[in-house]
Symmetry: C2
Subunit: 410 residues, 2 copies
């Protein structure tokens, strides 16, 4: 018997039939003796329907009113799910974010949770009730309804699990776990039984959009074990948790992440003076453009070159800024390329293993894939390559690091 | 400059365009210098959509969850209307029943308002804001969402007007006021400029379903002047208020109400003993059947007869009860008739005028309409007649009392 927080997303509660299926899953856990707090999103499509209504009235709807509007989506789901539980004879009670006192700051449409008053939930759990909580929403100190921003239901679930010191926070979604890489690219991609918070963050930020990054950070900070499971088929899913120090042998590489949304900018012929990198990147960051991989070449003939990647949508804007900077610092040339992708090997095991990079580069060389940029962190090695090689590179690496083999240890 | 509470029903806010039209009406009042509190219903169709979802899950949905579910309907409208006001540059703020602390008892789906905390509303009004409040809903002492039952938005508006000591409570609907009688029956029916609470109650209970009876009672009790107006066309509507004692001359008859939903039961040959009326009507009321007009005939040959009307839906049930009673009290006969209607003259002026009944009966006699039963109160005379004469009778009375003539005084 343990306390579990479960979260079901919009697709999982998209119809009355699916809500009934969720109820029967929840009732099953309850019957098995677990205490349950269930967090739900709005039925899929509902949030978009509400936003469309608002946009018919205001191009940029008033944030406070937007939160009052869209928070009704989850409120509908909590009521329907609780009814479905009652229909199964399972005692349950629903709460909006405001009712359960999920206290947030007043940053409407992107509020942050400050505290959660768990007394009411604990009283219900003590009476054997399943507690159903509206995800994504809270209330500020003045009683105004707030929302945590899109996908914020994951954050609600993790925050509740942390506040209640739950045994596990289960995120039910339409995939059955976290994979070694995107199964659409590598057919042999394998579901991971376990992954660390750090690895998940590296995987998530690069396209494996299983979980909200913010909720993973949150779970890591409060040490809440997270499990990703499918709403539609049974299975153990993937457990995201702290690194288990007792495990003597860990896989060197846990997964391969990639990102197609990148573009590369190079500025050539820069006079190699101190502070020149700041002169170039300062204006870019002031324009709120996020810079990812940065490489500065070794100086030749008193000039150097700087290359960095940005989101593809920001390329044109970044190029304009660079051209202005180029005029100030001398006769430089700006080159852009939006036909590139980023591929990363991720794994906590890299910390204690040398030679991972060499093995990665060897595998890519074997298939004649040219590496344009390289950047490394403790648990990640990233390369930038030409876009057309993406699938080939990911498959080559997946195979080189034997990610399709279960229980590999090195 | 005065404080006005306005209420817009589901049809008035049924589409984004209509919400925008309401916003421009409200902004107009604000620009004219009035302080405004606006109560809105769910967009028409929305409450039924939500109830249908619930009924797919539970035949009899849990009342607490039903309230959580359907209260989202008004919450959507308050947000959209407030956005529409902002779009017009009119400062405004929305509140759910819970946020504005419309405190009710815990009788889910049919809660009664206990208190309203007007501090937050008054603070907003002081800052020049229009306050938009969700109708039909409140919150109990434990923070559970409650609803006042269908049509309860009128009650919310009247309760807010009473608590805020508003100058007037305006109910916007799809008719432009209260009429002397149903315009579908009498083409010459005339909109009344004024009517008293008492008259309105008599009119409303008999088919002129412009306003919720409960809200009229409430307005009368707290002396809140109520005005019924059309959302769709301009006009002064009908003011429902206390009797104006300064007015020396009042119309004798204000309107004609009628009701087609009645059936008549007669029990003949009753031994004329004391307590026999109770012996007959006691079991009927114990079966929760509401009895309306009752007439007991003068005794002849030691027996008497008793006739009363009930709602048509209750006739079969009442007949069964009477037949059982008849077996106990002697050789009586039970006759039923569901081809009857009730027609009433309503007017506070009757109090001080004799001869109204005579004039009524004369008008009916002129058209050979037989009166089956008669009952009178201080401000009403009711007759029961054969159903087929309904339209003829209403038109004859409308004309006899010159209800089509404006500003008639007698």
């Amino acid at each position: 018997m343990s306390l579990i927080v479960q979260k079901y997303g919009g697709t999982s509660v998209g119809t009355v039939e699916r809500i009934e299926a969720v109820a029967s899953k929840v009732a099953g856990y309850r019957a098995a003796g677990h205490d349950l707090v269930v967090v739900v999103s709005a039925m899929s499509g509902e949030t978009n329907r509400l936003i469309a209504l608002a946009n018919q009235i205001q191009a940029v709807p008033t944030p406070r009113e937007m939160d009052t509007l869209v928070s009704t989506g989850e409120q509908v789901t909590i009521a329907l799910l609780t009814m479905a539980l009652h229909q199964l004879g399972c005692d349950a009670r629903s709460y909006t974010g405001g009712q359960v006192q999920i206290l947030t700051d007043s940053a409407h449409t992107k509020a942050r949770i400050e505290t959660i008053d768990v007394h009411r939930i604990e009283a219900d759990l003590d009476q054997g009730r399943v507690v159903v909580v509206a995800g994504f929403q809270g209330v500020d100190a003045e009683g105004n309804i707030t929302t945590l921003g899109r996908g914020g239901s994951d954050t609600t679930a993790v925050a509740l699990a942390a506040a209640l010191q739950a045994h596990e926070c289960q995120i039910y979604t339409d995939v059955d776990g976290v994979y070694t890489t995107d199964p659409r690219v590598v057919a042999k991609a394998r579901r991971l039984d376990r992954i660390t918070f750090e690895e998940m963050l590296e995987m998530a930020s690069q396209g494996s959009k299983v979980l909200q990054i913010r909720s993973v950070e949150f779970a890591g900070k409060y040490k809440v074990p997270l499990r990703v499971l499918s709403s539609f088929k049974d299975g153990p899913g993937t457990l995201i948790s702290l690194e288990d120090n007792d495990e003597m042998e860990k896989p060197v590489v846990s997964g391969i992440a990639f990102n197609r949304d990148e573009a590369k900018l190079t500025i050539l012929g820069i006079p190699d003076n101190p502070g020149v990198a700041y002169k170039i990147l300062g204006p870019v960051s002031q324009a709120n453009i996020e810079v990812d991989v940065i490489v500065q070449n070794v100086s030749q003939d008193g000039t150097t070159s700087l290359t960095f990647t940005v989101h593809r949508n920001d390329m044109a804007k970044a190029r304009k800024i660079l051209e202005q900077v180029a005029q100030q610092i001398g006769p430089c040339q700006v080159i852009t390329d939006d036909r590139i992708v980023k591929v990363s090997l991720v794994g906590v095991g890299m910390r204690s293993h040398a030679g991972v990079a060499a093995r990665m580069f060897e595998a890519l060389a074997r298939d004649n894939i040219n590496i344009q940029m390289i950047t490394t962190s403790e648990i990640k090695i990233t390369v930038v390559i030409e876009e057309k090689y993406l699938e080939l590179a990911v498959r080559a690496l997946h195979s080189a690091f034997e990610l399709d083999q279960p229980d590999r240890t090195e």
